[in-house]
Symmetry: C2
């Protein structure tokens, strides 16, 4: 692994790029990927055609990457939502059109691709559904046995999908965190790789392609704002990393404002951004199960990205989430899961508060398909 190493996001200590190291040995901070310079000058941007721009990858052999056609998701105008919210223009990036039905495939393709290069034969992941399905699919393709630890209360369609790919599903009673605890106990006991989408630095190296695509699709006019539903921050932080790389390479002049939306019942990032305490034990159920993460491992990185991009963090109610889920399906023809609709509910607030102006361009990722998490009848 000559071209990469890991660096602690908290204390800056360097670590070797393997799949066993998931946190800093010194301070337990989360790790990020760092690329060693490959001897290219800083003026490359002037000569690079957009179609040639590929993000740096931890894979040694990216062309043979474990592809199922992830990424390159289409954008669709959302004219009804724009009008209802009071925006001149709103664009959705249809991330649910990734191979397993959510944006997670971007991160998983790289994470499992690295695992395959390293000869991993068996791995563990915990997930409320989408990440588990994604890891199961790519592990199946890589010939790697996957153990997925999921809350017993996860949507049945998600659990069926995970099982269909041949993964071993470990159904864990109790809250979401219980599945994480069980996964940690299992991989420790069996000395397996923990392919955690929340912790693995390889995962973010995959989700950063989101930013590269946005820059290409909106060439000459980046959206001023991108509004994300955020739990662990897998897409949010990937996008931030991608935009930051593009700006460093002088391929874009500025970075869109990256906003976070959480459910009011599980809002650790919103609280921290406001400087308030938040008791993760106090969380209650939400329809936005995909972002119900009480103690996000990369919390401090999300807060840094909010500050760096002048982003806002807002909390939304389940009623508004469900209303937007229906509106997207019935008026725009976009069948999204509730978690994805949270972004629209948050966007509505941001416009009402004047954080986003009516004439500004806005992008919303539609992160997951409604097919796995059917709206209440």
């Amino acid at each position: 692994m000559s071209h990469i190493r890991l660096r602690c996001t908290r204390c800056g200590a360097p670590h070797a790029a393997d799949m066993a190291t998931l946190a800093c040995d010194d301070c337990a901070g989360p790790l990020d990927m760092e690329y060693r310079p490959r001897g290219q000058g800083g003026k490359a941007a002037d000569r690079v055609a957009w179609s040639d721009v590929e993000p740096p990858s931890p894979l040694h052999d990216p062309p043979s990457a474990l592809s199922l056609g992830e990424g390159d998701t289409p954008c669709a105008e959302l004219p009804v939502a724009a009008e209802l919210i009071g925006l001149r223009r709103l664009v959705g990036k249809l991330e649910f059109l990734n191979p397993t039905g959510s944006f997670k495939d971007r991160g998983t393709a790289v994470m499992i691709g690295v695992a395959r290069e390293l000869g991993v034969r068996e791995l563990v992941e915990d997930s409320s559904g989408n990440a588990g399905a994604s890891v199961s699919a790519y592990a199946a393709r890589a010939g790697i046995k996957a153990h997925i630890f999921a809350p017993a209360g996860a949507p049945p369609a998600k659990l069926r999908q995970i099982a269909a790919y041949g993964a071993e599903v470990h159904s864990i009673e109790g809250p979401r965190d219980a599945a994480t605890d069980a996964a940690v106990a299992y991989y420790t006991e069996h000395r397996l790789v923990y392919a955690s989408h929340a912790l693995s630095p390889y995962f973010l190296e995959g989700t950063k392609t989101f930013a590269y695509e946005v820059a290409r699709q909106f060439e000459g006019g980046l959206p001023a704002h991108i509004v994300f539903p955020v739990g662990n921050g897998g897409l949010y932080l990937g996008a931030w990393k991608g935009f930051d790389e593009l700006r460093s390479a002088r391929l874009i002049a500025w970075v869109p404002r990256l906003h976070c939306v959480q459910s009011r019942t599980v809002m650790p990032l919103v609280a921290a951004h406001r400087g308030e305490e938040w008791d993760s034990g106090a969380q209650t159920a939400t329809v936005a199960g995909g972002i119900a993460v009480g103690a996000p491992a990369r919390r401090d990185q999300v807060l840094s990205a909010l500050r760096a991009t002048n982003g806002a963090a807002v909390a939304v109610d389940d009623g508004d989430i469900l209303r937007w889920q229906s509106t997207l399906a019935e008026r725009e023809g976009v069948y999204a899961e509730a978690t994805s609709a949270a972004a629209l509910a948050g966007l509505e607030q941001l416009v009402l508060r004047g954080v986003i102006g009516a004439g500004e361009s806005v992008l919303v990722p539609i992160t997951g398909t409604g097919l796995k998490d059917t709206p209440p009848a």
Copy 2:
């Protein structure tokens, strides 16, 4: 509608291009779209860059088409399936990554786009699931009220999806044909437009984009064979039409062999291709519900395309379909519905029989997602 008219595929009679005419007034044959020449010479191919090639469209204003990001689906290598079948290389085109989860969106986008241009406010469709979901989604986006007539026994996830888009679902007891009869009675009584994916010539104008994409994605080396699961022939005939247009425009030199796969329990096309009688009353249930069409309206066109491309038609057993559905998910990471897996079962037969040689290149469309039609536990 100056640039298009409809022409009977049986007797050749011309008809005006509206949405009310679904069959020939003279002989009741199915209709196809015909484009009036736009004064371009026959040598265009020499000057055209592939990225500029757009199929002729019945829409007057294609750029404002009713897009949800349909088409441009990715291709993925299927190395495990290739090895199991005995092929050097097999590629899947992941049609289930269309906006509502199946290839139908290609046809629906054009069919509903034309309806919107013509000011249609309310329409009727009958479907076992995928077409109904697709019509519901695009109708929702176009602000058109949709009535979907579906068999009561259709997969629940498909019915929920149709309803989520706000369509009125008419659940009809009895076999698949009963839903068609009920739809016909309803549109006749209420004088509504019948947006039938099986009959509408506009639908095939959308699915033909499949061929244009294949020609672009495989530039310089078209696959020798494409193996389709076929019920009404919506994708099969669209592909044939697209390849035929490309060859007429001298953009490709030859057309791949286009093969049909049906379920052994519902095989009117296979029987007709062999010159055998087939009693549509004798059909029994199959796991491949998406191709269980006892009396396909465009049967004769499918037979013509089979002859024209030297295609074969084969029937497969449910057991083989389910085995391939599992193999695709567990070994390739591709979660397809059973109907889609029928193509792999058919391909296996074609290689065993020597119709397809081990060294020839083969493409298989993976037509629909497994998320809507879960495999039996």
